[in-house]
């Protein structure tokens, strides 16, 4: 129970912070204005939290997905995002389930078919989950005649979601590497 609480809080904070950061860059930094779809940072939270903490990270991530748009920037999206957020969060468990059913079980040793200590395997999960997310979210939007900020829900949007999720996750990995390097060096020197 204690672990579930810690995981939920960590996932919620991580997801919310990434959404707020992404939203700030997208709307306040002129160079990136409106281009935020091409580097959607919060997808990294979905991948990292579910891969490393397991399915118990899902509630925290889902609340994190809703927190930004409803509390920090109400009205940012023009329609209720309960379903699209759920689809986005579930894209990673869906990927892991699919890989698991194909015999690629997630583990943390070198003999694991999917080793969560190997960044190439994490990129594979990111790649597939970005595909699921872009396809399923846009399928839901088009079936219900909804759109993000009046953008047309078409194949271009599917592709931009796909690229955005992958690039956003890579950027967060790079940022985390940069952030954690001094901490690790300090621990090593002690």
């Amino acid at each position: 129970m204690k672990n579930f609480f810690i995981v939920s809080v960590t996932s919620f904070v991580f997801s919310s912070v990434l959404w707020i950061l992404w939203h700030f860059i997208d709307t306040h930094i002129l160079f990136f204005a409106g281009e935020g779809v091409f580097f959607y940072l919060p997808h990294a939270a979905r991948v990292l939290c579910i891969v490393y903490f397991g399915y118990k990270a899902i509630p925290g991530l889902y609340l994190g997905e809703l927190f930004g748009p409803y509390v920090i920037e109400p009205g940012f999206y023009t329609f209720p995002i309960y379903i699209t957020s759920l689809i986005s969060v579930m894209s990673v468990p869906l990927t892991l389930s699919m890989l698991n059913s194909l015999g690629f079980t997630l583990g943390h040793t070198i003999s694991s078919p999917l080793n969560r200590r190997n960044y190439k395997h994490i990129f594979l999960i990111t790649f597939i989950s970005a595909g699921f997310n872009s396809l399923l979210v846009n399928l839901y939007l088009s079936r219900n005649n909804l759109s993000y900020a009046n953008a047309i829900t078409d194949i271009d949007q599917v592709l931009s979601f796909f690229i955005g999720d992958i690039l956003g996750t890579v950027l967060v990995f790079i940022f985390l590497g940069l952030l954690l390097k001094p901490i690790l060096k300090q621990a090593q020197n002690q």
Partner: protein, 110 residues
């Protein structure tokens, strides 16, 4: 790199910290394959800024942009660029638009 942490703490870590530890190993593998483990944090910051700038502008970026985006001093950026250039990670060429500026491109992108 993680031997110290591994030997001292890994056995006693609870589940949460073990998960974080796995994530750190994953990030370390990324740095190892990029061959940037020996860089200092400041050098890494400049390197990551160059990557980000190159992703946004395939023609490369100039030193002033790297200084502005990284938030590092011009002298630190210059020293790091020289090191990266000597290691064959980046190319420094004179900008066609401004003769005083050098254009930075990642090797393989130019």
């Amino acid at each position: 790199m993680y031997n110290f942490i591994k030997q001292s703490y890994y056995v006693n870590m609870n589940e949460f910290y073990r998960n974080i530890f796995d994530a750190l190993i994953m990030l370390d593998g990324l740095e190892k394959d990029l061959n940037i483990r020996h860089f200092s944090p400041n050098e890494l910051r400049v390197f990551y800024t160059i990557i980000t700038q190159n992703a946004l502008n395939e023609e490369g970026s100039n030193i002033t942009e790297i200084v502005n985006c990284s938030g590092m001093s011009r002298s630190t950026v210059y020293k790091t660029l020289k090191k990266l250039s000597n290691e064959g990670i980046i190319n420094l060429t004179q900008s066609e638009d401004d003769g005083r500026e050098s254009l930075i491109t990642l090797v393989g992108n130019s």
